[in-house]
Structures are given as structure tokens and as C-alpha cells.
């Protein structure tokens, strides 16, 4: 005779001659009027077979899979809400940094070099606006100077000027930026290099601000 593989959560036993119902008639199981076990307290095997049909290891360490699944999903949802909180905190951090940046006000005017210090095609490294913000001044022609932040907009590696190729080159991931505009032309960077605003007074070059751009 085949084993009964009905859902053990069901209170009605469809088989008359099954275990515990010998000698009884009708469809009610012998345990119907016994102490009630709450439906959710019944341990259910993955194959829905009764407990005594399970292998010994599962009988020794029964796992209630539906309960396990419920708890797992519930805890995963809690973790996702925690992740959501982390993202919201990140947004607030950006807002706080933005407020701090606005409080600091405008950029100072700082002397970089004399016009005669840079040959055509030559570069000078300077820091602006803070001491740890390296920048590059490039003389592209007799009358034209450009300056950009030296930090790659991908992962902040220092870019290297290559005036003969007309690019700034980032050796970390082979990013390339146009020498005149600072716009990304190849590699992983998506944002242009921040432009340092210059003011040439007489023979002296001054940095007067930073222009950050998205395109």
C-alpha cells in the first residue's frame, strides 16, 4: 500500500485505514477530539510527507520550512529598510556638505605664476583652492592659458598632461580628457575636469575660482 502523502496540516484524513484510525468509520481522524495543535506549530517537511516518513536526520532535526521562509523574507525586508535608511542618510550628507560649501563662500584670488614662467606647451602644477587640491596650468599658445584640477573625475587619480596629444591622461584606468576644455574623451570618466578660472593681470596669472561642470 502506498504511503499517504497528503498535506499534514489538513485536519481531515482522507484514508480510512490509516494509522490511528483503525476500527473507526467515517472520515474523522482519531485525533480529532484530542488536544488541538495550532496549525502554525506543525512542522512541515519540504515534500509535505508526514514526519514518520522522513529520513532519520530530518526527524532528529526537523525544520519548519514555511516558517523558515517567512522569517527569512521578513528579516530580508528589515535589512532592505535599513539599506533604505542608509541611502536617505547619504542624501542628507550630500545636503549637509552642500550647505557647508555654501557657507564657506567665494574662492580667494591666488597668484599662480608669471606668464614668462610657462613656455608654450609647458605646464605648471599648483594647488587651488586648498593646499591639497592639485591643479595644472597649461599654456596652449602664446596668449592662451588653461587650468584644470588634476584629480580625475573617475576615482581622483592624478591626471598627466600630454600637450603634444592634446589630452590629459589618467594612468589608473586610461581615462582621457581634452586639453583645452577638460571634457572626457575616452575611458571611464563621465564628468569633465573642474576648470580653474584664470585672470591674467599684466604678466601675472591668478586663479580666481573653480567651475565644476556635469557636461
Amino acid at each position: 500500500m502506498s504511503e499517504v502523502t497528503a498535506d499534514p496540516r489538513s485536519p481531515i484524513d482522507p484514508q480510512v485505514n490509516s494509522s490511528g484510525r483503525e476500527g473507526l468509520t467515517g472520515t474523522a481522524p482519531a485525533s480529532l477530539y484530542g488536544p488541538l495543535v495550532e496549525r502554525e506549530q506543525i512542522t512541515i517537511a519540504p515534500d509535505f510527507a508526514p514526519a514518520d516518513a522522513q529520513p532519520a536526520w530530518r526527524q532528529d532535526f526537523p525544520i519548519d520550512w514555511p516558517q523558515d521562509q517567512y522569517v527569512e523574507r521578513r528579516d530580508f525586508m528589515k535589512f532592505m529598510v535599513l539599506t533604505s535608511a542608509a541611502f536617505a542618510v547619504g542624501q542628507l550628507w550630500i545636503a549637509a556638505q552642500n550647505w557647508w560649501r555654501r557657507q564657506n563662500g567665494s574662492y580667494e584670488i591666488r597668484r599662480i605664476a608669471s606668464v614668462d614662467d610657462v613656455a608654450v606647451g609647458g605646464t605648471i602644477v599648483f594647488t587651488y583652492p586648498a593646499e591639497h587640491d592639485p591643479c595644472l596650468l597649461v599654456r596652449t599658445s602664446d596668449t592662451e592659458f588653461v587650468a584644470f584640477s588634476q584629480k580625475c573625475t573617475h576615482l581622483s587619480c592624478a591626471v598627466i598632461p600630454r600637450p603634444e596629444e592634446g589630452i590629459f591622461f589618467c594612468p589608473c584606468h586610461e581615462g582621457r580628457f581634452d586639453l583645452r576644455s577638460g571634457a572626457p574623451t575616452a575611458g571611464p570618466p563621465r564628468r569633465p575636469l573642474p576648470r580653474i578660472l584664470l585672470d591674467i593681470r599684466g604678466r601675472t596669472i591668478y586663479a580666481v575660482g573653480v567651475e565644476e561642470r556635469t557636461v
Partner: protein, 84 residues
């Protein structure tokens, strides 16, 4: 007079509810991730007009998720109270 029967959800029903909530929460969290990266990109590029609206929307998403979690906790609390 109209009365309402307060029968707690069974575990299977609660599992279904959790699945629905989880799908909703996952979509919102992915939206928040996109919002954070887009805001960071704009802010690093000097565009700070989106910072405050994005922070407000992200906080709104968090409130929505926290509300769903609170509802789930309430379901379990009601279940425990009614089952003694």
C-alpha cells in the same frame, strides 16, 4: 449594527503579505540608489539645485518603507495578542 471580525492572518497569508511588501520595498530601494548616484553626480559637477528635492524624496521613500515595516510588526503583534 455592523461588526467586523478581527481574525488574525495565518502564517501563509502573512508570508504572501511579506512577499508583496518585499517587492515594493526592493523597487523603492533601487529607486533610492539611483537617486543617490544621480544626485552625487550632479553635486560633484557643481549643480546643487537637485540636492534638497532629492533628499526630501529619499526621506519620503524611507518613511514609506518604515511604514510598511511598522505594518508588518503590527500584524505580528496582533497575532501574538490574539493567540495569547
Amino acid at each position: 449594527m455592523r461588526t467586523t471580525a478581527h481574525r488574525p492572518f495565518s502564517r501563509d497569508q502573512r508570508t504572501t503579505i511579506v512577499y508583496g511588501m518585499l517587492a515594493f520595498v526592493l523597487i523603492i530601494v533601487i529607486l533610492q540608489l539611483w537617486l543617490l548616484t544621480a544626485t552625487m553626480n550632479a553635486w560633484l559637477g557643481g549643480d546643487d539645485t537637485v540636492v534638497l528635492p532629492a533628499a526630501a524624496v529619499s526621506l519620503g521613500c524611507l518613511c514609506l518603507n518604515a511604514g510598511l515595516l511598522w505594518y508588518l510588526a503590527r500584524l505580528e503583534r496582533v497575532r501574538r495578542q490574539l493567540s495569547g
